[in-house]
């Protein structure tokens, strides 16, 4: 079985597994307890926080652990004070789009037809806006110029939220340089476990957590933390420089995969703009994404149609409708193949052979 769904979840890396195993005997305790057991668990948690903070260029006190990326988006987006309008890209994941919609404010989606991001000044940001954008898109890998956008937000007196979940480990991340008010990350995209995520909140940002409860995570994310999983996140964070160093090799493999797919008649989605190295999202016109995913699973290739979260529903990908509003067929017939540092040239060649066979199979 060839795994080409790294944008859904990355395999837990050996060093992460080892760190979690080593911590297990101490990580069970409640990290808020005053006794020795609690202190030991708390120490593991704070070590992990320091590692994550280091990886994203933040102070540890600005890092809030949450259990999922969606939770980080929710806490991040629902916590801003004094908003009048939301400005977001047309490519947002439901974790961002739905939490923005729930704010009950007017939502302005800027256009990105053809996959080229608009320049920052074209966003029309003004005071009281919340800019909500994803750094690296989960489906197409499209990279938005978030640094420019956040600067424009600051200059306009707007707040800014960046979904950095797919960015971490794929592009260099430094939240200080980024200048956003809040940024979400998740361990499962960088070799860490599922169930561990983080929200960076800039010190002094006009932000209060919407979650109510105890004082854990400085009150921003009340509830007993799953220390063992955050230890895993910390270990994964330490390995991020290695992941970034592998990106040129991953890019070469992606390009090889993409060339093979183009030869099979695929159209590459989002190729017109800047993209992360780890993904190719392609459409096979006339075919249906979910059926291709099932056929490829049976043929030994794990991939997805749109985001894994929407699997099973045959609604055309909203990301692709955002890029190609007049072409729902393109959105319906898409396959997302995403690579990681573990992917080999042999994986790519065998995947291409399997895809060629499935694409050649009787058409519906």
């Amino acid at each position: 079985m060839i795994y080409l769904d790294h944008h859904a979840a990355t395999p837990v890396s050996p060093e992460v597994r080892a760190a979690m195993d080593a911590a297990r005997d101490r990580a069970w305790a409640n990290a808020s307890s005053a006794h020795r057991f609690g202190r030991e668990a708390r120490a593991l948690l704070e070590d992990a926080r320091a590692a994550v903070a280091e990886a994203i260029g933040a102070e540890p006190a600005s890092v809030v652990f949450t259990s999922t990326g969606t939770e980080a988006c929710h806490v991040g987006l629902a916590g801003f004070r004094g908003l009048r309008r939301v400005v977001m890209s047309p490519l947002e994941h439901p974790a961002v789009a739905e939490n923005c919609a729930a704010l009950g404010l007017p939502v302005h989606r800027f256009e990105m037809t053809g996959g080229r991001p608009p320049p920052a000044e074209a966003l029309g940001l003004r005071e009281g806006d919340l800019l909500a954008v994803t750094w690296v898109n989960h489906e197409t890998g499209t990279i938005l110029p978030v640094e420019d956008y956040c600067r424009a937000a600051r200059e306009a007196g707007a707040s800014s939220f960046v979904d950095g979940i797919q960015a971490l480990g794929k592009v260099p991340v430094n939240v200080r340089a980024l200048g956003a008010d809040a940024v979400a990350f998740a361990a499962q995209k960088v070799g860490g476990p599922t169930g561990a995520a983080a929200l960076f909140v800039r010190r002094g940002a006009p932000h209060d957590s919407p979650l109510l409860g105890g004082p854990q995570e400085r009150g921003r994310r009340p509830g007993t933390p799953d220390v063992e999983r955050f230890v895993g996140f910390g270990a994964a964070a330490k390995a991020i420089p290695g992941r970034l160093a592998a990106m040129p090799r991953v890019a070469a493999l992606r390009d090889r995969l993409e060339a093979g797919l183009l030869a099979l008649g695929a159209e590459v989605n989002g190729r017109e703009g800047p993209r992360a190295a780890t993904v190719t999202d392609v459409s096979f016109r006339g075919r249906r994404g979910p059926v291709l995913v099932a056929a490829l699973d049976l043929a030994g290739v794990a991939c997805s149609h749109g985001s894994a979260c929407s699997s099973g529903l045959d609604e055309p990908s909203k990301v692709l409708l955002g890029l190609y509003p007049d072409d729902p067929e393109r959105a319906r017939s898409a396959l997302r193949l995403s690579l990681g540092p573990e992917t080999t040239g042999d994986d790519v060649d065998r995947a291409l052979a399997a895809i060629a066979k499935v694409i050649g199979a009787a058409k519906p």
Binding site: V291, L292, A295, G312, D314, A361, P364
Partner: protein
């Protein structure tokens, strides 16, 4: 041509029948793939529907986990609405009583699964239908299931020969009670799940309410007798089927009256005595035949609704279907319902009552 059995795609509804069908194929050593078609979203909070509710897809997934086979859910809601639900609503508004399961099997379920089987590299499609299929050198023959009470051969006459040729019905020789026993023996997680009702997208059986919800209310009309005398009023023709007695609200103490005809142009329901409800002749259109009818006709039995014991009739072909002359008069021959021709237990063909 009989095709060798390779990988088998099993249509998993989440119910006990399809689960046992998959378990039996697995036990026989076949390479099995489970597919659940998501056809409809059950309405409202109280999802009484036993079909296509999220928990049914979950049950199907759990059964496949138990059997150690892959499982995929594919969204066919758009096709189901287009091919089954909308024509169903149209038929009711025309004063007819459709048989949506025939259309569903023909245009959505089995035909679609057959095409899907190609894409998934499967040679055959299996379902939990109670019917028998026999693949032979001269083609595929379809028979009533051994459990005559559960027999679903009535719904399957419309399939294309190509689709028929790749079907497997592992429950064809089982009684429902035996299916449940097999489920228990094989440890199928949902062996005790209650049976589904006949119309999956109208789980409460209230077609009139469903029509109202989907298409909005329609104008009421008059209930008249055969001479055109007005006997009362009705709220909507979708609430009526031929032979219905309940809900006429005619009052008076006369002899029982039944719906004889529905006239959509004037929104009129025509009623009369039980003796007016019977007829010896039926014309069916849009015919599909597994065996061609000889020009001079055939002595056969014809089933005029799902819960009807096939009745002896002489059947002769027409340009688009057939005409059946029954030996005994039949009650409530209802336009829109499927009429299916049997010789013994074998399905010869069928069509839709004109």
């Amino acid at each position: 041509m009989t095709r060798p059995i390779g990988k088998v795609l099993v249509a998993m509804s989440g119910g006990v029948d399809s689960s046992v069908a998959a378990a039996l194929l697995r036990e026989q050593g076949h390479d099995v793939v489970g597919v659940t078609l998501h056809l409809w979203d059950a309405e409202g909070e109280n999802k009484v529907g036993r079909c296509c509710a999220p928990e049914d897809r979950e049950d199907a997934r759990r059964t496949c986990d138990h059997l150690g086979i892959p499982h995929y859910v594919l969204d066919e809601r758009a096709a189901f609405r287009r091919e089954v639900v909308e024509p169903f609503l149209d038929e009711y508004r025309r004063g007819r009583t459709p048989t949506p399961c025939v259309h569903c099997n023909r245009t959505v379920k089995l035909e679609m699964l057959a095409r899907l089987a190609d894409e998934l590299g499967c040679s055959h499609v299996a379902t939990g239908h109670y019917a028998k299929i026999v693949h032979g050198p001269e083609g595929t023959r379809l028979f009533r299931g051994r459990d005559l009470d559960k027999d679903q051969s009535y719904f399957l006459f419309g399939l294309s020969p190509e689709t028929r040729s790749r079907l497997l019905f592992p429950l064809g020789d089982l009684l429902k009670s035996e299916t449940r026993a097999e489920g228990e023996r094989l440890g199928v997680p949902n062996a005790k799940k209650p049976d589904s009702q006949e119309l999956c997208f109208v789980p409460d059986g209230d077609v009139a309410a469903f029509t109202r919800r989907e298409r909005g209310g329609e104008a009421g009309g008059l209930v008249v007798d055969e001479e055109g005398r007005v006997l009362g009023k009705h709220d909507e023709i979708a609430a009526f089927t031929i032979g219905k007695r309940k809900g006429l609200a005619l009052g008076g103490g006369s002899a029982p009256r039944y719906v004889l005809r529905i006239v959509p142009d004037s929104n009129t329901v025509v009623v009369g005595g039980a003796e007016k409800l019977v007829s010896k002749t039926l014309e069916a259109r849009d015919g599909h035949f597994l065996h061609a009818l000889p020009p001079e006709g055939l002595e056969a039995s014809v089933r005029i609704r799902y819960r009807h014991e096939p009745a002896p009739a002489h059947v002769r072909p027409t340009a688009t279907g057939f005409v059946a002359e029954f030996v005994e008069p039949q009650r409530a021959i209802t336009p829109g319902q499927a009429a299916v021709i049997y010789v013994g237990d074998e399905v010869i063909g069928g069509g839709f009552i004109a």
